[in-house]
Symmetry: C4
Subunit: 367 residues, 4 copies
């Protein structure tokens, strides 16, 4: 993003956050930015990248850089996708449609959240770009099945099942703000269902009802196997922290995992995802595709994740900051900025395509 084109726009993803903070309502901004409890993991997700050092190669022809890659066979123009995040209409009126179109413009893939404020139908209709769907497994398995079959028919290309949220992490800013969805917004995918549930349980907000009444805390490996049995879509487990769980995902034949801690919003004091990646990557040894989210704010962060074993990364909050700052244009600019940074980082690392990002580029600051 050069000064010529967006003279007033932020120069980095963290400047987008700053600007977003000045345009969003406090409860919305807090909802987006907050982490669980003391926000230790939230901070660590970012901090960890500052302790990882790059060892660039010299005298390599980097005139032409190729950032394209494939994720589960889908070609995308860069190893950066849009992570599923909730409630895009809180950031701008066109909400998830703006996001989907920003993804399409930048030739990458959006993972639509189950907590979108736009229906999967509307999002699918707004873009010809590839979409994945982030899924929660509901207590009501018929509802779960109906959602899956809807997104399947709409052409979503994979299911990304969140496995780190049997209960909602406690974000004290939201409790303090008594956060609830602004008037007029709904959790669109299950809107009708929720309205009925809320009517039965009048004093609770839709978000409380969603998590307390809909989500199933008893989900096990058997249940995700059941999902596979009822859907042709590739399945990715999002929220893997442990090597043993990554191996189980391989053994159960899943297609991918997202090394994720839900942006530091679930269990506080879990490690930064980037620090979990190397041992998970070693254990998986190429048997499924590994994605990563959490703390990616720079092109150099992308390179580090690739070098340590991620096939691609996902960015969540920065997209929301882009939406808040400038809707579709803002989200597009964020994607373009992180792509430009990644392109430059590749050149300066002495690599000309993403497969050349290997472990020898990486070191750790010890003090």
């Amino acid at each position: 993003v050069s000064g010529d084109i967006y003279p007033k726009l932020p120069l980095s993803l963290s400047e987008y956050e700053e600007l977003a903070g000045s345009v969003l309502d406090k409860p919305a901004y807090d909802y987006y930015r907050s982490g669980a409890n003391d926000e230790i993991t939230l901070a660590e997700n970012l901090q960890a990248y500052k302790r990882i050092q790059l060892y660039p190669r010299i005298l390599v022809d980097v005139e032409k850089r190729d950032l394209t890659t494939t994720v589960l066979g889908q070609e995308i123009s860069m190893p950066i996708m849009i992570a599923p995040t909730a409630f895009h209409k809180m950031a701008c009126p066109s909400g998830e449609i703006a996001t989907a179109q920003a993804a399409e413009k930048n030739q990458t893939l959006m993972v639509l959240s189950s907590l979108s404020t736009t229906t999967p139908e509307e999002v699918a209709a707004s873009t010809s770009g590839p979409l994945w769907f982030q899924l929660y497994i509901y207590k009501d398995r018929d509802l779960t099945k109906r959602v899956i079959h809807r997104v399947e028919e709409l052409g979503y290309k994979a299911l990304c099942i969140t496995v780190d949220a049997p209960l909602l992490g406690r974000r004290e800013r939201d409790v303090r703000n008594t956060f609830s969805l602004p008037k007029g917004l709904t959790i669109a995918t299950v809107g009708d269902y929720l309205e009925k549930a809320m009517a039965e349980n009048a004093k609770n907000s839709s978000l409380n009802v969603y998590f307390t009444n809909l989500l199933d805390q008893s989900v096990t490996w058997r249940d995700v196997e059941w999902i596979r049995s009822i859907s042709e879509l590739p399945i990715i487990l999002k929220g893997v922290h442990r090597t043993d769980d990554a191996i189980r995902a391989v053994e159960h034949g899943f297609d991918g995992i997202v090394v994720s801690n839900h942006g530091g919003r679930q269990l506080d004091t879990v490690p930064a995802t980037i620090n979990l990646l190397p041992s998970i990557s070693d254990a998986v040894n190429g048997r499924l595709e590994i994605f990563l989210d959490g703390g990616i704010r720079r092109g150099t962060d992308v390179i580090k994740a690739l070098a340590l074993g991620a096939r691609a990364v996902l960015i969540g909050r920065p997209i929301l900051w882009g939406l808040a700052v400038g809707g579709y244009e803002g989200a597009s600019a964020v994607l373009r900025l992180i792509r430009d940074e990644t392109d430059l980082a590749m050149a300066l690392c002495g690599i000309s395509n993403v497969s050349e990002a290997t472990k020898d580029l990486i070191g750790y600051r010890t003090a």
Copy 2:
């Protein structure tokens, strides 16, 4: 503690401390919060938990979580007890009785301090919940014996002998404040005895007299053996730091130890208790029960202590902040808050009862 029930109450134990600081007199607040000398251990007790990382399991059925455990055979509803702390009447008029009733309400156990401002008799009469008694060994062994037999008869279920305080640690805030017990409050257990001693030694406050005149600096393993010989109660040694001392406690046949540094109030620059726990737990190898206090402020801290070998933890200062903020209600709310946090942390760790908190959940941040 939901926003509905206590709309104005703190959302975390550290917010309780903040609020307590605004309602307590400075000398009282300082007495409670201070640590020895430079307060390095005081800070480290808290800081250490931030460097310990959790590795949660996924896809585990956590719909029903069971927090109950037993301590020396006593069932309690959660692995969190009330540590012995002094002078609860400085925090609220009903003092230790409020505390005991908060413990009972939350179905856990209170360890009554020898420095209580309420007699063991009054505390025992106020609750049907289980009580332990924290004991100092006095120079006057008859006095010591009388205290033991009193609490034995009152139904206290164990003696918790403090072994890290042959002398009182130097807390400079108290020296600066020339701290003494507020008028009307006494060290109730030995009130008569002290009055006599103070009369003989007119210029000293009861606290100085207590420590200088009553406490015995020559106590050794032989003396704690003597305690055992005169009491049927199980005995726990509180203030163990070293592996060799833990092994000696096993060899001498004691029932439990508390890995404790007296909340950072005795010898400054001793390690955080949570960092002492793993090697002590390995050495003890189940031959006695290990408890831990010092720095527990979050449900995740409780899980970390359990995973590293504690059977249960004790919280001290947070109870005082609860008492200061709202007496019995405040102390109850503190206990409920830390229980709720522990319950949520269990769910998000993928464990459904306390025995599943094992070492593989734990890692250490290295930088």
Copy 3:
């Protein structure tokens, strides 16, 4: 620099920076001081020296200290040279001529930047001291060749080829300032060539044109070999980070390398140069001369670099601060100050000539 001679002058290189910040225009100061992106490497270059500890020898005769050394056979009075930096006329009117004369006065060597605001001819005419020339390889190889032959004929004694800048690192301060060369200043070495290119490409500043149009992103080891084939001058590769690249430089028969990260201005989050030095020095094992720049601010820093394998160090920004503060006098004072500090550090380390700076002087602070 004693208080007697320069009563108002700074006492340390960092005080020079502070004073320079108050006399330079913000865009110029920012251009000089900034690093890429989050400026993590910029800070780390300095910070790393604070974690390296010296172990001085006692009872050594240090009455006479000898700071002289040779670099590629050239004797200089101290193991400290002037690093190539751009645009000295932004700091003071006499620009690179002031710098060259400060180098001569202090009997050391200046490496003239390709981005000088003074022609190589003018600089060569202004000094009888030794000069090296920092070279970029241009897309236009004829231009490259012409520049090489010009400096060869002018008596420059070595070519220092920058290998860490296929593209310009992104310094956000410059983007924010929309930095361009002040009116009247030009990139003197290729001034005519640039004017033509700028005429064709009217809306871009000379700096953008320089990097985008002139610099070749496809340069490989073959191209630096080509440079060697067309010049008799010794060749040094500047911008080496990796041990394998250092070994390749040896194998290709180059004369020296500069362990450099371009002052933290290219790829952010690369390690501090001083931390790269030990393993590179071990790998090279004396087969070429190793120089180092980045973060040298104290005489003790110089000793550390020598002890860890550098033959000499280069300082960049401090020279600019000297120029800004006092032109030729300021740059001279900076050189004299760092020399005096190095001399004193030698005495206090118990070494009397630079070859005695060996690895046993060095330790690392671990926490």
Copy 4:
């Protein structure tokens, strides 16, 4: 020091420093407190103790603690001596005499500095306590010999030869303040000699003349052997940093060493002395007595130094703060405070005499 006796006095050595800073002239305060260059070693000397952790023993009879020890056969009442520091009359009018009497009152030993503002004769006359003399080796060996023989005859019991100051470290605060000895004060030991030298060299202050003209930068092991040949006194080398130099001190038959970095005033970025101690102690293995100075501010620091191999420690600046705050009374109070802290630390560590301070008491905080 209880609140009763000194109601207005500081409660810790660092509070003494604070108070001294408010009563001393800035140049004097700066002279005392400053370290070389960036004051990294100055800070590290203190910081290092905060990373060293104590592992106290429990259930040890500590009713009677014995702090006495011997240094080179001299009994002192505690393992804490007074380090040689310059210019005590800048802190209070009675200068080194106040210090000597404070030492005597606390039954410990003072090492008189060569840079005292009181003659060795006056100091010796003022006290019946034991004295050592800190010696610089002058270019003029006759002067050196005369000084040695004077202090020998005066009953000083050892020579403590400073070996880390062939030149004076650069303390920028002093340069900024153009520090010189206040009018009326002289470097008393060599007063006449200096006056003559200053007359010949009119524009320099006595301190500059002292270091430039008197001190010999060519001193080697041969010269300290010469000292031994001309004196019966035991000889201690002060300023040892390296294991090899400590071993050489053993091999040359010296009586003791002081692990010292001159309070961070000589070569900046040398390690904290306490971190040098363990390997030096291992190497020396009891063959000479090891003392330590630098950063001792707490009783726990004393215990750590003893446990890691020091026979006794020396404190420097805190004595000056005591002198500044209250002359003889202040210096006495400082000694009594650090003794009381050491006594309490012993009790809380579970040791009852200094020889029980062993390595198993020590651990290191890793992050």
